[in-house]
Symmetry: C2
Subunit: 395 residues, 2 copies
């Protein structure tokens, strides 16, 4: 069924002139295919599928009764509370991740990178759950899984071994987390992360909330290992709050180092933390993706998986007002994330996978400002959402 | 018609236990009224009408073809571009303000404070337009008009006289703007603002974008004049970016001064500028309201008039995650704005005006996180919006 040929009639790819696009065997093709289903797009804007480059599918509380958040202010409060709540609420990572995926698909996201908790208390339950969801949603949304040591690696013996197992089971990416702030052992954690990546031949994505000089130190350590392991193009630093520090001369030096090492950045553009300046990253040639981070979880009530809304957040946080600037924000939530994740065949060109979203708006900037329900979402040429609703139902 | 008695059956006022509320002659009354229309609220959350405490009704581009923003980065670039664009687009302040009011009412806002441009190029066109809109929407949404010298006061001779005229015509509040940064004459501007307020017996609301020590200086000047003129409770400082400066000891001193002088703060919680910390303002006893600022105008493409979304922005900007913290954000967008504007009969108590919104959500925090279409909006007991749509149509 998903191999049906289609013609998207009267679309404006990336807001350019109206045209027809043709789809066959899940990809865009040059000309019309006999017997193709014709979908009248009414002059709507077409962009490639939105890319959710940083989220936590296993820990959302979507679909559950409201969780009253009374958690303390420190990072460790949130981490410890979450480990406990997973048990007290009996959180099912397969069910919860499926709920978030359905909502995310309805908003036009066709690719997700999800960090998934691995720890000595819950073991690989998260990884197994999200692996099941990835299987269940094959052909609807591509899901990349990062084995993520949320509760620390070196400080909780046994975690490295569990991450090794997770990668053998099918996790795609080696995660990491604040090697100084959380693990108090930057050399230990980063050596372990890069060793796992080398062993499994998989990329790396490290959460780095550490600020100012501390974050810069950890970042330098990641840069040197990326170079030593020849892993340019395969390492992402998520959050990278230290790139938001006030010492912009120090930031400029870090940005040159990241660009030269081929290290990518993922930002969630939080309003209350220092953040990488996306215009500077673009100017420095650093590949940048964006993500929702956790959605309605024990960390906080916000978030909905809408990557057009995230483009707005990137715009608001970076004071992007001009149309070309808003287009940069949207580019980060589409092509930027795709490059960060190394997606094959991403785009609206001939031969690219027919993963795309039909948007309301006269221009790309208006589409971001409006964030109207998505008129149509295709994954590999198959309709997976229409008028803001996914074609699959929420578990 | 708007005098019809109503019973709101099965509501949860402020998320508390389910009850019925009774309305007669536009206000909440203690018991059922014979022949009252019964509205089944299905256990929904009820809050008083949202309060838009800082916006610019006269300058939105809602309803017009997309405006491609190519404006320069400085404040003066935006101000000069806007003055020119008003002419080139033939912007009609009555029509534009009406468009924004209808959209705002659909989101559950029952009170608006709008700054309206007064300058020597466009004279009182903005004031006259928004006065017409206020008249046209009487009974649907209350609109307060600030005579706002967007293009400067002292630096553009004739502006003070125009503001004087605007106040005589019916503007409710005396505006001001960056007495150092824009006017380069803090003494001149602030003396003129307070003289106008004294002459007309009207309150003051001054835009203060000035940062750090400069903003603190202007704030001190506002404090001293507020005390000298006995205007405690009648002065608002909008934006107050200097309260977001890194020198928190200096901020603490300013906050004590504001609280003692009875000066209010309005914030729009922008993600890319330093902002007042709303938890600190609350602790200091400073009345705080929130607003959308400009909506889809020549300054930027964002904004929609949804004050539940603004509560989320206040929450995100101030890192409010716990339920009690999210409730603070919502309180600022309701009771806070109402106190800032000195509204009479605001609330859900017996005798209060029946201005209220029925929300989706198990709790107030969930309502903010969801921002679902508003199920019902009443103004003085009359239905003015249902299921996300205003009962009046958009001009």
């Amino acid at each position: 069924m998903h191999m049906t040929s289609k013609t998207l009639k009267d679309v404006r790819p990336m807001g350019r002139a109206m045209t027809d696009l043709h789809i066959s065997e899940g990809r865009f093709v040059a000309g019309p295919v006999a017997g193709a289903e014709v979908i009248d797009c009414g002059g709507g804007l077409l962009i490639p599928g939105l890319v959710e480059a940083h989220t936590h599918l296993d820990k959302t509380l979507l679909g559950l009764p409201w969780y009253r958040n009374e958690v303390g202010p420190r990072l460790v409060d949130k981490i410890e509370n979450e480990r406990a709540v997973k048990t007290s609420l009996g959180l099912d990572p397969a069910l919860q991740s499926a709920r978030q995926v359905v909502q995310t698909v309805a908003y036009g996201t066709t690719h997700i990178r999800s960090h998934v908790d691995v720890d000595t208390e819950h073991g690989l339950a998260g990884i197994e759950g999200v692996l099941a969801t990835r299987e269940a949603f094959a052909g609807i949304c591509d899901i990349e899984i990062v084995a993520f040591p949320q509760s620390a690696m070196m400080a909780r013996p046994g975690t490295v071994e569990l991450m090794d197992e997770a990668l053998a089971l099918g996790a795609d990416v080696v995660g990491g987390l604040d090697p100084c702030g959380i693990d108090r052992d930057p050399k230990g954690q980063l050596d372990a992360v890069f060793a796992l990546a080398e062993k499994h031949g998989k990329p790396i994505d490290i959460h780095l909330h550490e600020r100012d000089a501390l974050g810069a130190f950890s970042m330098e350590e990641i840069v040197s290992r990326t170079r030593a392991h020849g892993m340019g193009g395969m390492v992402t630093i998520s959050h990278a709050f230290c790139l938001g520090m006030t010492d912009r001369a120090a930031v400029a030096i870090l940005q040159v180092a990241l660009a030269e090492a081929g290290i990518h950045v993922a930002t969630t553009a939080p309003a209350s933390a220092p953040v990488p300046a996306v215009r500077e990253l673009r100017a420095a040639g650093i590949v940048t993706g964006a993500g929702s981070d956790g959605i309605r979880d024990t960390w906080g009530p916000y978030g909905n998986g809408d990557m057009l809304e995230r483009a707005m957040f990137v715009g608001l946080r970076n004071n992007l007002r001009r149309d070309d600037e808003v287009e940069l924000a949207l580019d980060i939530c589409t092509f930027g994330g795709a490059r960060m994740m190394g997606l094959e065949g991403y785009g609206l060109g001939i031969g690219d996978r027919a993963d795309c979203v039909l948007l309301e708006g006269e221009t790309l900037a208006e589409a971001v400002a409006l964030r109207a329900p998505r008129r149509l979402v295709l994954k590999g040429g198959t309709v997976v959402a229409e008028n803001g609703r996914a074609t699959v139902s929420t578990p």
